[in-house]
């Protein structure tokens, strides 16, 4: 399989972009990524979006995005895997380059959650985390599913340190220009925030925002000709039963376990070689489950390790270095591409005040719903 390289990235601030349509916001990120990579066109465009039909009454986002980015004529279509849609688009783009068919592809993800009322966004999370005639029929949305997992986790291991995950993410987001919530919050404030679905509190879940992110993926040959640093990309994915309570152990995310070990094997990287991990902390408990299922923490210990500072910017394994889903933001279809773009910035030495001392290899975990699918991306700096 041919090598795949990230040649450039672009993204918008995550905010309420009332003045822009979804495809315009995506085009903004796309044009930035093309300029960053120094390429004028691509062989194909892959678009990630979860709720275009639901919130914007808009499908056919591939052709629309191509038009807005001035790339009409280029093949373009959308990949969808709930809130891992951006990762599904990355996966498609990766396969296109790896197969040797394309030399350069543009992967763009976008979501405009502020176009919906809060109950419409909640319906959206319900479409993403369950079946419409089971969880959907009974009004069991993403927050309720995460809350039930949180309860099971607390019963088995205790909840020590789980509410600390948002504190870490917010600390890392402080002053980050593209973050939705670029400020610190104290643990007390998390604990005092009202329940969204007990025991899950309002400040333990990501907010509602709009954002778009893009990456240009290129072949090894093109990477050699471009000026950008040689950052190689790998991606793997796995699925699991959609309802976590149909799984053998709901607290072990098999999709994460499988996709993490597959990508590490493919890249020839061991866990101890990773300099950073981006987690899917759409709810605090899922951040912890990603770490434990990915083999980065013993079961039941992620919260305690978080309290000890292991996942801070100077810790053993820095996590969510620009704020993660909680503080940078979680515009579903764009999120995985923000994660990959942020690792790219770290590896390229362009992370500003959040720059890690040593960043040569980073990994990002992206979930759909409560782990029905997981995509794990790995970026690795190559010596030239």
């Amino acid at each position: 399989m041919a090598g795949v390289y990230v040649a450039g990235v672009g993204f918008t601030k995550i905010a309420e972009h009332w003045d822009k349509d979804l495809e315009q916001l995506m085009a903004e990120a796309a044009v930035k990524a093309l300029e960053d990579a120094g390429v004028s066109t691509v062989n194909a465009i892959y678009v990630g979006c979860a709720l275009g039909e639901h919130l914007q009454c808009q499908a056919n986002l591939g052709a629309l995005m191509a038009e807005c980015a001035g790339l009409t004529g280029v093949p373009a279509f959308r990949a969808e895997a709930a809130d891992a849609s951006g990762a599904a688009a990355l996966y498609s783009g990766f396969c296109d380059i790896a197969s040797g068919r394309s030399e350069a592809v543009l992967v763009v993800g976008g979501e405009k959650l502020s176009d919906g009322l809060s109950e419409e966004v909640s319906s959206g999370t319900l479409m993403m985390s369950g079946r419409s005639w089971y969880e959907g029929f009974m009004g069991i949305d993403f927050y309720a599913m995460s809350a039930l997992l949180y309860r099971l986790y607390s019963k088995r291991y205790g909840d020590e340190g789980i509410p600390f995950f948002p504190v870490i993410s917010h600390e890392h987001a402080e002053g980050v220009a593209h973050a939705q919530y670029p400020f610190k919050i104290a643990l007390d404030r998390v604990l005092e925030s009202p329940f969204i679905a007990e025991p899950l509190r309002m400040l333990e879940v990501s907010g509602i925002g709009d954002g778009a992110a893009a990456a240009v993926l290129v072949s090894e040959e093109l990477a050699r000709r471009l000026k950008s640093p040689k950052i190689r990309m790998f991606i793997s994915s796995a699925t699991d039963y959609v309802n976590p309570f149909d799984r053998e152990d709901p607290l072990r995310l098999q999709s994460v376990m499988l996709s993490v070990s597959r990508v590490l094997e493919h890249a020839g990287v061991s866990r101890s070689e990773l300099n950073m991990v981006e987690l899917h902390d759409s709810a605090s408990i899922l951040g912890a489950l990603c770490l434990e299922s990915g083999g980065f923490s013993p079961p039941g210990a992620a919260g305690k390790l978080a309290m000890k500072g292991e996942f801070g910017l100077n810790g053993r394994l820095p996590c969510n270095t620009f704020g993660g889903l909680k503080a940078r933001g979680h515009p579903f279809g764009a999120t995985a591409i923000y994660q990959v773009a942020e690792i790219y910035l770290q590896l390229a030495g362009r992370a500003g005040k959040n720059q890690l001392d040593k960043a040569r290899t980073g990994l990002a975990i992206s979930l759909s719903g409560v782990g029905a699918a997981a995509f794990t991306s790995l970026l690795k700096m190559e010596e030239v």
């Binding site: 909640s122 005639w133 029929f137 009974m138 009004g139 039930l148 969204i196 679905a197 309570f245």
Partner: protein, 133 residues
């Protein structure tokens, strides 16, 4: 628009009926093409027991569309007497009555009013059993 969906899911939503794989015993609340666990094609139609134990619960406070008038409402993860785990809304409980491990039983209730056509949809919910011994 969604009437056919309601109609084809009625046997589970009305009477907890579904399909059990005759080879590995996996329960499917939908009519399976192949067993999701062992890929067998042989199933027996079964009705799940209408009582069990509450394993965990939560309360939805920021409801999805079509549930605005129900909020806040409680959701439970229930282990039925045959070991099958199902999710359900909880109903008919008094304040402080919800605790892990209480015995619960299925009841038939109105669940939501669907879409612009205003179709009233019914299904199962679970409530605490009178006898907790």
């Amino acid at each position: 628009m969604r009437v056919p969906g309601y109609w084809r899911n009625m046997s589970f939503l009305y009477r907890l009926a579904g399909w059990k794989c005759v080879h590995c015993g996996a329960f499917h609340h939908y009519k399976p093409v192949v067993c999701r666990r062992c890929r067998s094609k042989e199933f027996a139609q079964v009705e799940l027991p209408g009582s069990g134990r509450l394993i965990a619960y939560t309360v939805v406070r920021s409801p999805p569309k079509e549930f605005e008038r129900c909020a806040p409402y409680a959701i439970g993860l229930i282990e039925l007497e045959d070991g099958t785990k199902i999710l359900s809304q909880l109903t008919d409980f008094k304040e402080n009555e919800l605790r892990d491990d209480i015995r619960v039983e299925a009841v038939f209730r109105r669940v939501r009013i669907n879409g612009e056509q205003g179709i009233i949809e019914y299904g199962y919910k679970f409530r605490p059993a009178l006898s907790q011994s």
